[in-house]
């Protein structure tokens, strides 16, 4: 077997033109909105770096072990030499590598634990079965401004997240930005994340929390500071009176059938039991990643929420009349 290996290795190296190509193809498939292999922030980058060291190291160890397994076949039993080999590769090598690795691993991801600076943006993220509340508070203002299933961040700034849970243990995970952090009922876990590239990333609950755990996702939208400020200012404003009569009808219906028991539309109804809908029309998904946004899916969600995401806290409003359903959906879609 060893001779074959020796004969083939130079061939593989000689044909090295295919290696970069193969590497490119492999790496391209790693990019994406929800990939720890495509880091967009310092914390994710350090985890990614550790990952690469581990992949290469583990490959080298596997190769070494495979070669060492051939040793007994290749030479006669020489107990002194074997003992020496065992000492070097079986004891000394692992001891040195692991000793070096432990402090390095402990330091990885320390970016998420940096202390808060006074003017830092701070966001309360609360996990519930099966959605996320994102509540923005700035030290200059006392009022909290909430949105749901969508985390908007200014690019290149460390942002402090206070993670809470309303019910069971969830875990906040946006792989492109940082590692997982658990959200534990009755406790506040803190993490600092930073996104260095504007763009849209996807986050996901990473601690099995129940029937719809897989449909508990959120978008992370990273914006330049000016756009972020404009968005936040818009979010604080009460929703203005809808211009069209059909939208007004939708708004009236929204209030009269009791959507405000759970939802907030700033300036119209106020409840923190369910997701804040002040900007639901601008959201990329409906139902925490269940459906893409848009009026069609909003209508589908209102009429059959329990069918689309069984076990979520919203009932299916399947006793509305056609025009009522449409008016509600148009109204919610207009909230941007």
């Amino acid at each position: 077997m060893l001779p074959i290996f020796i004969r083939w290795t130079p061939l593989m190296i000689r044909n090295s033109r295919s290696v970069p190509l193969l590497a490119c193809v492999t790496l391209a498939s790693c990019a994406g909105p929800q990939s720890a292999l495509d880091p967009a922030g310092p914390s994710a980058a350090s985890i990614h770096q550790l990952g690469i060291i581990m992949y290469i190291g583990a490959s080298a160890v596997t190769l070494l072990v495979a070669v060492l397994m051939l040793v007994p076949f290749m030479r006669k039993n020489d107990s002194r030499a074997n003992r020496k080999l065992f000492l070097w590769t079986g004891v000394l090598l692992p001891a040195v590598t692991l000793t070096a690795l432990v402090p390095y691993v402990l330091a990885v991801g320390h970016e998420t634990r940096t202390p808060a600076s006074p003017n830092q943006l701070s966001i309360d993220v609360t996990g519930s079965l099966y959605w996320w509340s994102m509540s923005y508070r700035r030290t200059s203002e006392l009022t909290e401004i909430a949105t749901a299933n969508e985390l908007r961040l200014p690019v290149g700034e460390p942002v402090e997240l206070s993670l809470r849970s309303n019910d069971v243990i969830h875990s906040f995970w946006a792989p492109n930005l940082a590692g997982k952090t658990d959200m534990i009922p009755g406790r506040v876990t803190r993490m600092v994340i930073q996104a260095d590239r504007p763009g849209i990333y996807r986050g996901q609950c990473a601690e099995y929390c129940g029937l719809q755990h897989s449909l508990m996702a959120f978008d992370v939208i990273v914006l330049p500071r000016r756009e972020f400020d404009a968005w936040l200012a818009r979010l604080t404003q009460p929703v203005r009176e809808p211009p069209a009569p059909e939208l007004q009808q939708g708004r009236d219906l929204f209030v009269s059938i009791g959507c405000g028991e759970c939802h907030t539309v700033r300036g119209v109804v106020e409840s923190r039991r369910g997701p804040d809908l002040t900007q639901v029309g601008a959201r990329r998904t409906i139902g925490a990643g269940t459906l893409p946004g848009g009026v069609g899916n909003i209508a589908a969600w209102i009429a059959s929420a329990q069918h689309l995401k069984p076990g979520n806290a919203m009932r299916s409003y399947d006793q509305l009349e056609g025009p009522q359903l449409r008016a509600l959906a148009y109204y919610l879609e207009s909230l941007k």
Binding site: P292, V295, G296, N297, A303, S304, R326
Partner: protein
């Protein structure tokens, strides 16, 4: 080589074998197949006018499958990977269905118009205007007319 059949229980006839040539056997087999083939329900989608000349069913399928307009949120559509919607009628069999929304004749022009603004044609419908363009409506209609009726179990 021949095939022999003993067709009779009559002792007098027992020694007598009926010999059939390969040709006649083939004829019987052919007849059987023809008979069985005749049991198939003739295709009903031979309605010549349910064609959308400018529509591309492949593009239409892509539009529907993308979920951007939310078709699958309300409708069960065979062959599209999504949780089948239960809000509106299933769209399997649109190629044979007589009515759109139970009210309008299912012709290509009406379907294309309906897709662009359902409440304009059916005021009591629950289907919102999902802002489908004329081109998209043609593609989607062409795709819907590829959906044959689901087979009976």
């Amino acid at each position: 080589m021949c095939v022999r059949f003993n067709l009779s229980n009559d002792p007098g006839m027992s020694k007598e074998n009926l010999v059939m040539s390969r040709a006649s056997l083939a004829l019987i087999v052919f007849g059987c197949f023809t008979f069985i083939a005749g049991c198939r329900v003739p295709p009903t989608s031979s309605i010549p006018d349910r064609q959308v000349p400018e529509g591309d069913p492949i593009r239409g399928r892509a539009i529907v499958a993308s979920g951007a307009h939310g078709c699958t949120g309300c409708h069960a559509i065979p062959g599209i990977r999504a949780r089948s919607g239960v809000v509106g009628p299933p769209l399997g069999g649109m190629a044979q269905r007589s009515f759109i929304a139970g009210q309008l004749p299912n012709t290509p022009n009406v379907l294309v118009e309906f897709l662009q603004d359902p409440p304009a044609l059916v005021p009591r419908t629950g289907m919102p205007d999902v802002r489908v363009s004329l081109e998209e409506a043609r593609d989607i209609a062409a795709y819907l007319y590829t959906l044959d009726a689901p087979h009976d179990p």
